[in-house]
Every structure is written in structure tokens, then in C-alpha cells.
Symmetry: C2
Subunit: 254 residues, 2 copies
């Protein structure tokens, strides 16, 4: 695990996490002195299922993949993704003290802002605005999980793949996404060679270009059409509930 950087006490302007930046300044100020920036590399393990949650992470880059451990088939399968728009470790706010999933950093090396789990829980207990903001994100994440269920039930591999590519793309700043077939396999629950074939079909559609270890997004609209309504709903809910926490009436307008 590559941990670099030692900044401590992060100001609002310096925070690269969208959820934190959406907080009202008064709420952010509570966290600010306790945030610490740490650098991680691709495939670093941020947490392991069953271990106590001591730290909560707010990504500034990269993608934290939530992987449910399974005994059969692949050793684990993706059930969610979190990038700069959110945080991982929320079970600590829900009254659990252990990680329900493995969490690994994916796609690109990046920094995460971390904070002691007990401290964040205590702050969230005291401050309703902070608590609501964090819980809203958790809620959006569960909506996303619902759509993942739907997608895995009714869509063939390449349509599910289109959805995951969009989820990655939304959380990264480049059209070029580092993602091997093996990683796709853990999101799609298929053989590695079915990934190859599905990816070729997306290439034939000119939706993406695939290189060794990378996928380049060429046509988001095509990907979105393939994903159908398994993509978009959670994203709209995120905007409605979180994007402008500073404008308390935004919800009613939506």
C-alpha cells in the first residue's frame, strides 16, 4: 500500500471531493481539521470485508470499487463504485462497525481524504446538516445498487458493460479508462472471454475503442442507449439531493 502525502487539515478550496465541496461551509468546517490526504495506487486495498471500520475515505481521484466476497466462481464481485462524488465507509454511520465489502482502488492512482471513523460518526451525530448530506449519498448509492440488480437481470453482457463504462467515465476526468478484462469480469459476472466479445461488439458500434488494459469512450450517447434506464436515474437523484445542498429548496423544484 502506497501511502504518501501528509497534509492534515484540508481547506474547502483544496478538497477535491465533490460531496465535501457540496457541504455548507459550516458543516465542512467541522471536518476540515480532521481530514488528512493520502495517496494510493491502483489495486491498493482500502478495506477488507469483516474488518473493523477505523477510517472513512472521501476519494479525490480514482474509483473505490465495492467488492462482495463470494466463495464460488470469481472470488469477489462488484456491487458498487464510489469516486469523488461520495465516500466509502458509510456503514460506520449506519451503526455497523465492520466493512461489509472489500474496497479496492481502481482505474487510476489518486489521493483520498481520510478521517477517523469514530470522529466522523460523532460529528455526524451532532450536526444534522452534515449527517443528512452523508446519508443522502448513501441513499443514492443504494438506488444505484437497485439498478445494478435490474441490469444484471434483464440485460445481456454488452449492455451491462456499457453501463459500467459510463459509471467509470462519470467519475474520471479522461475518456481513457484503465480497465482490464479481468476487472470487467468482476462487474459482469461472466467469463473473461465473454468480456472480449462484448467489448468487440461495443467497438463495432463505435461506442468505445479498446486497447490493452484501457477503454476509450468514443460515444457516450450510444453507451447510454445501451444501458437504457439502468443508467441515469441514480445520477439524477444525486443531482436533486446533493448537488445543491446549499439551496434547500432545490428538491422541491425537481
Amino acid at each position: 500500500m502506497t501511502v504518501g502525502g501528509t497534509d492534515r487539515g484540508i481547506g474547502l478550496e483544496q478538497a477535491g471531493n465533490v460531496l465535501l465541496r457540496a457541504l455548507p461551509p459550516s458543516a465542512f468546517a467541522l471536518l476540515s481539521p480532521h481530514l488528512e490526504r493520502a495517496a494510493f495506487s491502483v489495486d491498493d486495498v482500502l478495506a477488507e470485508a469483516g474488518e473493523p471500520i477505523t477510517t472513512i475515505f472521501f476519494p479525490e481521484g480514482g474509483i473505490a470499487a465495492l467488492l462482495d466476497p463470494v466463495e464460488e466462481g470469481p472470488r469477489r464481485l462488484a456491487v458498487g463504485l464510489v469516486g469523488r462524488e461520495g465516500f466509502v465507509g458509510w456503514p460506520a454511520l449506519m451503526g455497523d462497525d465492520r466493512w461489509p465489502h472489500d474496497v479496492m482502488l481502481r482505474a487510476e492512482a489518486g489521493t483520498l481524504l481520510r478521517i477517523d471513523a469514530a470522529r466522523l460518526s460523532a460529528l455526524a451525530e451532532e450536526n444534522e446538516v452534515l449527517r443528512t448530506a452523508l446519508l443522502r449519498f448513501v441513499h443514492v448509492a443504494t438506488i444505484q445498487m437497485g439498478r445494478t440488480i435490474v441490469s444484471s437481470l434483464i440485460h445481456p453482457v454488452e449492455r451491462r458493460m456499457a453501463r459500467w463504462i459510463l459509471l467509470y467515465h462519470d467519475r474520471l476526468s479522461s475518456d481513457e479508462i484503465c480497465l482490464t478484462h479481468e476487472e470487467f469480469r468482476l462487474m459482469l459476472g461472466v467469463r473473461r472471454s465473454s468480456v472480449t466479445e462484448a467489448l468487440h461488439r461495443l467497438e463495432a458500434d463505435h461506442a468505445v475503442r479498446a486497447l490493452r488494459g484501457r477503454v476509450i469512450v468514443r460515444d457516450r450517447d450510444k453507451l447510454a442507449a445501451l444501458a437504457g434506464d439502468t443508467y441515469g436515474h441514480a445520477e439524477r437523484e444525486y443531482r436533486r439531493l446533493i448537488a445543491d445542498l446549499n439551496e434547500p429548496d432545490a428538491r422541491r423544484r425537481a
Copy 2:
């Protein structure tokens, strides 16, 4: 919608909801005067996706199915189940004001304890014990969703079916479960006739007996073996986190 019963103000001994009964008496006392018992029939719609959440329900019988609306294929697909062990309407506690899914009553007619959503939110804001108990249930429900994703990715129809039957069985008091092929279809995301075939395979294994509109559980162990580790984890977490809220050290023992 069949709404009968007019009891108002439910005592702890009269509450048929396991989550409520697990609450410390002081926390339950806050809710007690505001709970109202209402009777519903099978297939009654408790809520519709997109509508404002005005009421939160604690089932005492029957099963509340959470159905995600989809444009394609079947019009909706099951993403979760809640029986007497929990409640529905939790988005109101997570800072959302709208139902993310349709909610329908399944399996058997039953009563639900209902409470005004704004009032419950306010009570949960004030009382940390109550809030934690409710959030723990929400958390277990999301763990269950994670396993639903896993199951739909790696298991064939009859193994997923075995899992859903167990989830129903846990929430009902009889081995006889009212469930049509069409309802299975919404949980499994397959053609109705694939349900017929999967059910026949479970019958051939002597795991269940199937009659018109009903499934009778014959061998839970066989069903559990088929479900593999997609069944059991969420249930253990429920026990660890909720079953003895009155014994605050229970978590550490697990």
C-alpha cells in the same frame, strides 16, 4: 386498497413488528402514540415510485416487495423484501422525500403499523437510539441487495429461486407460501415458463412442493445449499446488529 382497523397508539406488547419490539422501551415509547394499525390485502400498493413519502410502514404480516420500475421487459423487478423484521419508507430518514421504488404487499394479507413520515423523521432526529436502530435495518437491507446482485450474476434460475423462497419463508409463519410464477418472474428476471421449469427442478430435489399459486417448503437445508453464500450473511448481520439492541455489547461478541 383495503384499509381496515383503526387502532391508534400501539403498546409494545401489541406490536407484531420484530424491529419495533427490539427497540429499548424508552425508544419505543416515543413512537407508540403515533402508530396506527392498518390492514392490507395481497397485491395492495403501499407506495409508488416517485410519489412523496408521507407514511412509513412497519409490517406485522405479509411481505412488502420493493419493485424497481423498468421500461423494458417486465414492467418492474424486485430489488428487495421487507417483512416484520423491518420497515419500508426509509428514504425519508435518508433525506429523500420520494419513494424510489414501488412497494406492494405480497404472500398474505396482513396488518402494518404506520406512522407519519415527517413525524418519524423528527423523532429519529431527536433520539439517537431510535435513529441507530432504524439505520441499522436499512444497512442490513443494503447488504441483502448486494447479495442479490451477486446471486443474479453467478447463479442459474433455480438457485436464485431457492434464495427468494428462503427470504419469503423467513418472513412468514407458515411453510406454505403464496407465490405465483408471475411473481417469481419479477424476482428472477426470466420468462414465466423458465419459472415453471426451475420450480420443477426444486420439486425433483424434494426441496419444495409446488401447487397452484403456492410453494410449500419441504427442506430448508437443501434450499440453503442451493442459495450458497448469497443466503445467510445478511441474516447474521441482522442478528448481530439488531436482534439484541437491548444488549449493547452483543456486537463485540459476534
